[in-house]
């Protein structure tokens, strides 16, 4: 490499380092995905727990026994026939088995 080419190389190096001064740090796309998962995973788990607790605590969504349902005479429930003589009731939606709790009580 002659002297002029060395000067061109020196110019190139200067150009490179001056450009570097203007650059922002870029996050590795793989790390960015991971860092997002660090945020989203606990949030998703938290939301899941809250929904789970809500289901557990909400009276309309809790599995209830017939004895508990008897306290609320206007409540409609779905009863599967094989469980009619047990203390189990479920909220699975099967319209043909939908009856008013008072009617169950009368039949029982």
């Amino acid at each position: 490499m002659n002297n002029f080419e060395s000067q061109l190389s020196a110019f190139g190096k200067q150009r490179y380092s001056q450009t570097n001064k203007n650059l922002r740090y870029i996050i590795n796309p793989r790390q960015r995905n991971i860092s997002l998962s660090w945020i989203t995973t606990p949030v998703a788990v938290g939301i899941g727990i809250l929904i789970g607790l809500g289901i557990q605590l909400h009276p309309d969504l809790k599995p209830q026994t017939i004895n508990q349902l008897e306290c609320n005479e206007t409540k409609k429930v779905i009863i599967l026939p094989e469980f009619c003589y047990t203390d189990f009731a479920t909220t699975i939606e099967l319209p043909k088995f939908e009856i008013v709790i008072n009617q169950i009580n009368n039949e029982l």
Binding site: Q7, L8, F11, G12, R15, R24
Partner: protein, 189 residues
């Protein structure tokens, strides 16, 4: 780490072979090595657009990961990466006025250089200023060739691989380019 060898001691090509086996640490090492170079390359060619530079740099490494199986391990990694970068730029320039952007970038860099002259030798200052002006007058192909050779410091062989042309052609074009600049700048040498 492969057995006792830390990733920083592994060649680019070996790292790429590990990436092909979904080794994420190998990908991180390539990112550490080449992110600044690629970012610098894009910044100079997008008129100093940091957002576009960031997007393109992210894109190229995502492409690297997504197309890892297409990498031929017999090929040198650096020219392969620059080829992806070059193709990405070609797609972008279909929509952007490259000529206008390049001029803006060169002018900005010139202004920055004028503000930061303390580290330069006095003889070189005059030459560099004149060189910047001459670069603006070059064709796009010449500008790119100049940058790849002198700013990105790629070898003749690597440049030949990027443009898919024989090494002899690169040498000849480079020789013509240097001669052209030398004739115009001989007063500053």
């Amino acid at each position: 780490m492969i057995f006792w060898r830390p990733y920083k001691n592994i060649s680019d090509e070996e790292l790429m072979r590990l990436v092909q086996c979904r080794d994420e640490k190998a990908f991180d090492e390539l990112w550490q090595r080449y992110m600044p170079t690629i970012q610098n390359f894009f910044y100079r060619r997008t008129g100093g657009d940091n957002d576009l530079t960031e997007d393109l740099t992210q894109d190229i490494f995502l492409q690297l990961w997504n197309t890892k199986t297409q990498y031929d391990s017999a090929m040198k990694f650096r020219p392969w990466l620059f080829t992806i970068a070059f193709n990405l730029l070609r797609n972008i320039y279909r929509n952007i006025d490259y000529q206008e952007i390049y001029k803006t970038e060169v002018i900005n860099t010139t202004q920055e250089a004028q503000e930061d002259n303390t580290a330069l030798q006095i003889d070189n200052e005059r030459l560099f200023d004149a060189l910047k002006k001459e670069l603006e007058l070059l064709s796009e192909a010449e500008k790119l060739l100049f940058d790849l050779r002198f700013t990105d410091e790629l070898s003749i062989k690597e440049i030949a691989a990027i443009f898919s042309i024989p090494e002899g052609t690169v040498k000849s074009r480079l020789h013509t380019l240097i001669l052209k600049l030398r004739n115009k700048l001989h007063d500053y040498e």
